[in-house]
Symmetry: D2
Subunit: 406 residues, 4 copies
C-alpha cells in the first residue's frame, strides 16, 4: 500500500456538539475521528440538559470539567484553554448547525459540520463570509464523496476519460420513513420530520443534498436550474419524504435526481451514474469497493478500490483490493483530510493536494442554494427555476485554499 | 413444467410487412413467431421495391406469388385466398404502422404491430375505433411485458403484496445513438432519427413508450400528468435522444421516467422499480430470470423464473429455473398469446385468462397519449401537462375482451 | 448483427427417439431444432408403447404413418424413404443412447445424441469406430458449450490472452434431487437414479460430464488423472448425487470439479473458471450474456454477448448486446451447427470453421473416459487414477473433420 | 442500533510484536485495536534491530522506553510494570508465533496471535496446555469469522434453518503470488514463501487455515479426513501456492476446499457455501454486508448486515443496513471480543455470550491439525488421511470458557 509509514503526529484535540445518547451520527463521528488516530475527543456539549450532558460525557470517558451543557460556553472556554480543542464536530439537528458553527468559528476554532450546512441560504452566506474573515476551516461531512473510488471517479472525469459530459443520473433511496415513525416517539424521525428542527426541506435536505453534492463533486459541475416535485407520500407528514428533480447543469448537461425515504426495501441506495461522449461511470454506495466504467462500444470495466492508481484514490485507501472498506473508513477520511488542513496551517505549509477534496463551506453553501431552488420550483408548480450562484466571496474562499496548495 | 402436453394445433398462417434485408426487428419477429410452432410465415411485403421484395422473400423460402411490393395489394389478395394469412406482423418504420394496420384490419385480418402504434393520437383513436367495429385483434409488440417475471410482478401488485402503491421509477438506457450514426448511412439510425419516418418523438417514442407501458402493465395505473424535458444531446440531431420525465399516476402515485439512447456504456437497460407501503419490486430486463422483492423491514427475496407459482408466470415459461430464458422467448410469448386469441375466436370460445396479458390497441393508444402529453409539456417549458383519457370506446374494447374471458 | 441475410435453405427433416409426454429434454430439442428454422420434425419413436407413441406423435402434428413404437423399425423405414429423416435426435434414458445411435448410423442417418454418449467406454469406442466407418455425424448435445461467450472464451484461451494455463475450477450445482423424488413417482428422477437405465454414474454422468466437457472445450485440455469422491448424500439412493473430483490436466494444469444434485437452493449452477499466468476467466451459466475476464494486476472486464468480436461468438449470436439470449438459443446452436455439417456434405463442401465447435463423438467418448476413471478412482478409495486416452481412431475422426475445413 | 450506550471503560493497554515498517498486517491490527476505543498501543517490539525498533516505535508515538528490540525482554519488563500491557498482539512471521506467545503467556500476559497459531502441531499442543495451566487468553486473529453475517450464519445453522448439513464448499482465491515476487525483493512474499519462516505450508497455512476455520466456525463441524493435492504452480517456488482438498466432516458431511495465491484476477475471494437438507447459505467475503439464504424449493433471500436479528450479529454490528462495514470492522470485533474477555476476568464475571465467538487456542490448534493432515495426505500421494483429534485438554480449555459464561 503506502510506500512508507508516516512519522508520528500527536492526535489533534476534538470537541463535539450534539451526539448524546440515542444519536446515530454522533457515534459515527467518534469512530471516524479515532479510526486513523488523527483525533482524540476531549470535550463535548452532548446535551443541553446539564445532567445528561455530564452522564453522556462520562460514558465517553471525558473529564467532567469539559462536559458542557451550553455550546456557547464550550466555545468560549475551550478557546481560552492552552489545551483547548482544535476542531469541533457539530452533529446537532439542522437548525443549530449555523449558530453553533458561528460560535466556534468566532472563537477561532475549526469546524466540521454535518450537512445540510444550515437551514437557509442566508445562514450559509454568512458562514461563508465568516470563514473567509477568520481564516478558519469549515468542513462539511459530505462523507460519501470521500470513498476512494469516487475520488478516483472525479479524476477520471477530469482526465477526460468520459469525454465531454452529457448526463448525470443520481438517486438516493431509503425506506426508513416508510412508516410514520415521527408519530411513534422515534427520536431521529421526530426531529427530521419537524420543520422547526430540520428546516424547510425533508428528504431534500437530509439526503438530497448528499446526492447533489456527489454529482457535483465527481462531475465538477453545478446545477443551473431545477424543476422539482416534492411529495409527502405519507399522509400528514410535514416535510417532503420523496423528491423528484430534473436538473440542468453547466454546459447543457442534463440530469435527474431522485431521493426518497419511503422506497420500501431500499436501505441506503445512493447511486451515481455519469455519462460522457466516450464512456459512462456507475457507483453504488452499498458496494463502494467497485466502480464500473463502461466505454462506448467496449467492455465494462470493474475498477477495484485498492487497485486503481490515482493519487487521489491511494490517499484515501487503507487496505489492498479484496479487503472491503466501508462507510466508516470514508467518514474517517473526512477527518483525516481535516487533520491535514489543521496541521498544515499549524506547520505553516499548504495542505496536501489530495486533502483538498475535503468538502468545505462552498460545497455546503452550494447545497443550500440547490435546496432553495428546489423549494422555489415546488412553489411555482414545478417550473424550471434558476439555482443562484455562489457569491464571489464564497467561491474565492475555496479557490484561495486550492491556490495555496499549488 | 407444464403438467400436460398441448394437443397439436396446426401453425397459423403469418404475413409480414417490412422487415427486409438489414432490418433488425423483422428477424426477431420471425424467430418469435416460429419458436413455439404457433405460426408459419407464408406471405410478405418485405420491401416496396418489387425486386428486393422478391429477393428477400425468396431468401425466407416464400412462394414468389406471395412476395408483395405493395402492402395494400397484399391485404386485398391475402384476404381473398382460402389459405390467406391469419395474422400480419407490421415491422415497418413508425409512420406506416397505422396505414398498414388499417388496411389489414379492414380486410378482416388480425394484426400485430410494432410500437409505437402510430405517430399521432388521432391515428391511434381511429385504429381503436376500427378494431371495435371490425372485431379484429390489434396486438402491439410490447414484448418486454411478456417476460414471465413481469407478468408475475403484476400478479404480486394485484394481490396487494406491495401494499398501496406509492412510487414508480422506470428507466430505459441505451447508447447506440451516442454517436451520430444517422449521418453515417446507418439504416436503423437514419429512419429512427427522421421525424418524417419516426414521427415527432425520438427516444421518447422508440423506447420511452416501452418503459411507460411496462410501468402501467405492472402497476395497473396510468399517468394523469407529466412534466417533460426532452433533449437532443447530440448537436444537430432532429429528434430527442434523451428524455427526463416526472410523472403523476392515478391515486397520487409519483414517478419518474428516464429514457436515453446516448447513455454511453448502457446496452438495453430497461429497469422497473415499484414501491408500495409494504414492499418494493425491482426488475432489470438484462437479467430477466430474476425479480427482486424487498419487504419493508425484511430481507430481499430473489424470485426465479420457473420457480414462481402464479398461473400468469407459468403460462409464459418454457424452462425450469436456472435455465435462462431471454428476449426471444418473451417475444415469442406475444405470438403465443396472439395465436390463442385467434384460435379462440376460430373455435368460438373465450381466450385463456393468461393470454389477456397480450398488449392490444388500448395499450398502444395509451402510449400515444403519453407521448402526446410529453411533447406538449416540452412545448410548455416543462410544465405539468395532463395526459388525455383513453376514449370510452377504446377502453370499452379492451374490457369487452376481458369480460369475454370471465 | 450479421451483415447479410442467408439465402434460404429448406429445413432439414428431423426424427426423434424418446421425448414423449412428461419428458423435459425432448421438448427442448424440438424448440431448439425449430428456433432457427433449420429442422422440421417429421417422424418419431416417442414411446415403445404403440398407443402412446401414436398419441404423442399426433400431439406434435406428425403423420400417423411416421409415429413408430420401435426405433429399429423407424431407422429402417426412414432410411428407405426418399423423404426420410436426415437427422435423428436421441433423447431416451442413457442406456439406450448407444443402441439407438448405432441403429441409425448403420442406416446411414446422422445422429444427435444426449449426453452421456453411452453407459460404457466400450459402447463409446464402438460408436466412434462406426462413425469413422460410415462417415456419418454423431453430434452430442453438450449444449452449454454452444453459448456464444463460451465459444469466445475458447478463442481467448487459444489466442493466449490468459497466458499459459494453470488452473481450472468447474462446478455444477443443482438441488432438484435434494429430496428422494425417485421414491415418489417422479419420472425424471426415477430413471436417472436407476443404474439399469442411467448407467453406473448418477450426478457424475448426468451433469459432471457437462461440466467436464466445458472445461475441456474452453481450455483445449483433457484430464490425465482424477481422484474422486462420489457420494450418495440421500440415504438409500442407488447412484451418486454429489461428486468431488481433483483433476490433473495436460501440462501440469490443476483442477477441481464439483457436481451436485442435492445442493439446496442451487438451480442450475454451472460455473467455469480458468486461470492462466496473465488472466482469469469466469462464466456462470445462469447469466450467460456475460463473461468476466480479469487481468493480473488490472481491472476486471465484463464482456457482453453481442459485443465481443470473435467470429466464433458472432456465428452463435442472434441479438445485439442487452437483449438476453438463453438456454434455448444455445441449444439451437447445436442444431444449427449440425445442419451446417449435413448441408456441407450434401453440397460437397467443408463445413464452416465456426460449426466445427459442434461437440461430436470424440467429445462424447472423452466424457465416458472421464466417468470411467472417476468410477475406478472411487473403487480405489479415491486414489489418483489415470484417464485413458482417446483411441487413435477416435481422435483421427475428429481431426479428419477439422482438416476438411482448412 | 444498540439501544443504550455502554458506560465508559478505559482503553486497555496493548503491546505488539512484529509489524514494523512495510508490514501489512501490523497496521491492520493497530487500526482494529483502536477503532472501537478498546485498546491503546503503549509498547512494542517492532523489529529485532534496536535502531529500527526505536524508529518504528517513535513513528507510532510510543515512549522510547517501551520500544523493545527483544520480545523476551519486552515480556519480562512489561509484566513487571504496574502499567504494563494487558494484551500483546503477535504479528510476526509464522515461525515466531509460538515462541513469542509462550513468552507472554508465561509472563501472565494475554495474547492475540495471527494465524496459523504455530508451525507445528507440537507447538500448538504445548500452547494449548500452557493456556490451560496459566488461565490466560490466547486469541487467534481469524478475523473473517467476526463478520456479523457469518456469526449470524452460525446461528442459522445452530437453529436448524438449513436442516441436517450435507455439504460444505469453501474457497479462498487470491492472485498476489501469481508472479515470483519472492525473487524480486518483495518483503511479504519473501517470508511467506520461505519454509524457514512460514513453516512447511504455503497457501495452505496462510489462507487455507482461514478457509477451514470459517467452514468449522459456521458449521460447527470439524474435518475427520482430508485428501490433498498441494501444488507449486510457479516453477521453483518452495511452498505450495495452490491447494485442492477433499474433505470429510463429522457425520458424513462432504466438502471441498480450494485455496490459491496464483488465481489471476482474484483479489481476496474467500467464499463459503453450506448446504443442508432444507436450505443453503452463501457468503462472499468481498461483499460482507450480504448473506444469501436459499431455501429448497423457495426463493433466495438476501440477508442484510444490520437487519438480521440475532444477538450474535447485533453484537458485531456498528451501522444500520446499507451503510457498508468491511474488513477493519470485522478485525476490530476480534479486539472487542478480546477486551470483553479481559475485562470480564478483571471484573470477576463471565464474558458475554456473544464474545465467546472469539477464536481461541483450540481453533488455532484445529487449524494446525488440519494443515498437518493435508501435508501427510500429500506425502501419501493424495490418500485420504485422518485429521487428528484435538486433545482432551485443549478441548476442555475451550469448553471451560464456554461453561463459565452460562
Amino acid at each position: 500500500m503506502s510506500a512508507h509509514q508516516p512519522s508520528f503526529q500527536r492526535p489533534l484535540r476534538l470537541g463535539m456538539v450534539g451526539g448524546g445518547e440515542g444519536a446515530f451520527i454522533g457515534a459515527v463521528h467518534r469512530i471516524a475521528a479515532r479510526l486513523d488516530g488523527e483525533f482524540e475527543l476531549v470535550a463535548a456539549a452532548l446535551s443541553s440538559q446539564a445532567e445528561r450532558a455530564a452522564a453522556s460525557g462520562a460514558a465517553l470517558g471525558l473529564d467532567a470539567g469539559r462536559c458542557y451543557a451550553d455550546w456557547r460556553e464550550m466555545a468560549r472556554r475551550e478557546a481560552e484553554r492552552a489545551d483547548g480543542i482544535e476542531l469541533v464536530a457539530i452533529v446537532t439537528p439542522n437548525h443549530l448547525h449555523a449558530p453553533v458553527a458561528r460560535a466556534f468559528l468566532e472563537a477561532g476554532i475549526d469546524v466540521i459540520c454535518d450537512k445540510p450546512l444550515a437551514i437557509s441560504v442566508q445562514e450559509g452566506r454568512e458562514l461563508a463570509a465568516l470563514v473567509q474573515a477568520r481564516k478558519r476551516l469549515l468542513a462539511v461531512s459530505y462523507n460519501y464523496s470521500a470513498y476512494p473510488l469516487l475520488r478516483h471517479a472525479r479524476e477520471l472525469v477530469r482526465a477526460g476519460e468520459l469525454g465531454p459530459l452529457r448526463l448525470i443520473q443520481i438517486e438516493y433511496a431509503q425506506d426508513w420513513l416508510a412508516e410514520p415513525l415521527e408519530t411513534q416517539g422515534h427520536k431521529q424521525a421526530s426531529w427530521r420530520c419537524d420543520p422547526a428542527l430540520a428546516g424547510p426541506a425533508g428528504a431534500l435536505g437530509d439526503i438530497g443534498t448528499h446526492a447533489y453534492q456527489l454529482a457535483c463533486f465527481v462531475s465538477g459541475l453545478r446545477a443551473t436550474a431545477v424543476a422539482a416535485e416534492l411529495s409527502s407520500l405519507l399522509p400528514g407528514r410535514q416535510l417532503d419524504d420523496n423528491v423528484q428533480l430534473m436538473l440542468r447543469f453547466d454546459g447543457g448537461v442534463r440530469g435527474a435526481l431522485w431521493a426518497s425515504q419511503v422506497a420500501s426495501g431500499c436501505e441506503n441506495g445512493l447511486r451515481l451514474r455519469i455519462f460522457g461522449a466516450k464512456a459512462g461511470l456507475e457507483f453504488n454506495q452499498e458496494q463502494p469497493n467497485q466502480l464500473r466504467l463502461s466505454r462506448l462500444g467496449g467492455s465494462s470495466e470493474l475498477l477495484s478500490r485498492g487497485r486503481v492508481d490515482s493519487a487521489a484514490a491511494r490517499a484515501a485507501t487503507r487496505l489492498p483490493p479484496g479487503h472491503p472498506e466501508g462507510y466508516l473508513e470514508a467518514f474517517a477520511q473526512i477527518y483525516r483530510d481535516a487533520a491535514e488542513h489543521i496541521r498544515a496551517r499549524q506547520q505553516g505549509r499548504a495542505p496536501s493536494t489530495e486533502s483538498l477534496a475535503l468538502p468545505q463551506v462552498s460545497e455546503g453553501l452550494a447545497g443550500l442554494l440547490f435546496v432553495d431552488a428546489a423549494l422555489r420550483s415546488q412553489l411555482a408548480g414545478g417550473a424550471w427555476t434558476a439555482v443562484d450562484d455562489l457569491s464571489a466571496e464564497a467561491a474565492g474562499q475555496q479557490s484561495a485554499h486550492e491556490e495555496t496548495a499549488k
